[in-house]
Symmetry: C2
Subunit: 152 residues, 2 copies
DNA sequence: TTTGAAACCTATGAGCA
DNA sequence: TGCTCATAGGTTTCAAA
């Protein structure tokens, strides 16, 4: 595991709050020089702790108002890699979690409306040799980082 | 719904790929001036389409290697707001999704190890008047934006 | 709504404690 | 590791179209 000290954690917390914070702002908050903070961020990227930066979008404002989780069940013989591969090919799929036990996978999808959700579920069923699905329709969501602040 | 044109969508895509992209880089890729791109990003923030920027972290590299989803069931009388409030108070909780039907909520948690997971589940059970839980242990995950690239 | 230019910050790399 | 300094580059604002 990487050696990440308290200042690194502080920097990570600041970047979680605002990924576009400037090095000079962080330097002041953290009590180091600009160059020292930059070096730490560069190092955290090299270590693979920081894998990238992204924008947080309210998809409901873009007309993608429906969010759901679909539990997928497969025959015991299906390799995990194939589950992930087939699910990720569906563009509405936001995330794929392979699970220990039952179900075998949990798929996070974002769609325009319920008809669209139906299509996506059908597509997931057909994509692999799925033996069963159960879909959980999301009414509201909250995330620690403020991602997907749907239906607040 | 906000009026968001093709160029706005292009800018959003570029920022999803890299939230720290410079305006000058985006200006070139999008075919507008730097000032015009900045104005669009400012406007998308005002509209609430962009809710913020964040860093993508590989939590397994920080020693938080276990990810799970816990389904919570409540008595029919429990208000949704209380479900969210009690769950979000637990620091290991990354996201809370309230669900139409059964279960009533899906909680995304991230913990150090299985003992820690047990503690968090216990805490969730005690926090509200939970009538039942089922926890799905995540073996691997993939996300479209490259968030949480756990167990790749 | 866009552009281009000016003023101001920030990022980055080198050299050194 | 950390710091400072120099400069290249980015951001922000504003007047003009």
């Amino acid at each position: 595991m990487a050696e990440v000290d308290d200042i690194d954690h502080h920097v990570l917390r600041l970047l979680r709050e605002d990924g576009r914070r400037t090095f000079s702002e962080m330097a002041e908050l953290v009590g180091l020089s600009v160059a020292a903070v930059k070096r730490r961020v560069d190092r955290l990227r090299e270590l693979g702790v920081i894998t990238g930066f992204s924008v947080q979008i309210d998809y409901s404002k873009l007309g993608w108002g429906i969010e759901a989780f679909t539990e997928l069940r497969y025959p015991g013989t299906t390799p995990v890699a194939e589950i992930v591969r087939t699910a990720t090919e569906v563009p509405e799929v936001q995330a794929v979690f392979t699970i220990a036990g039952d179900p075998d996978a949990l798929i996070h999808v974002r769609v325009r409306d319920l008809g669209h959700l139906q299509q996506v579920i059908d597509r997931l069923r057909r994509a692999g040799n799925v033996t069963g699905t159960k879909t959980l329709l999301v009414l509201g969501s909250w995330t620690r980082d403020g991602m997907s602040p749907h239906a607040r």
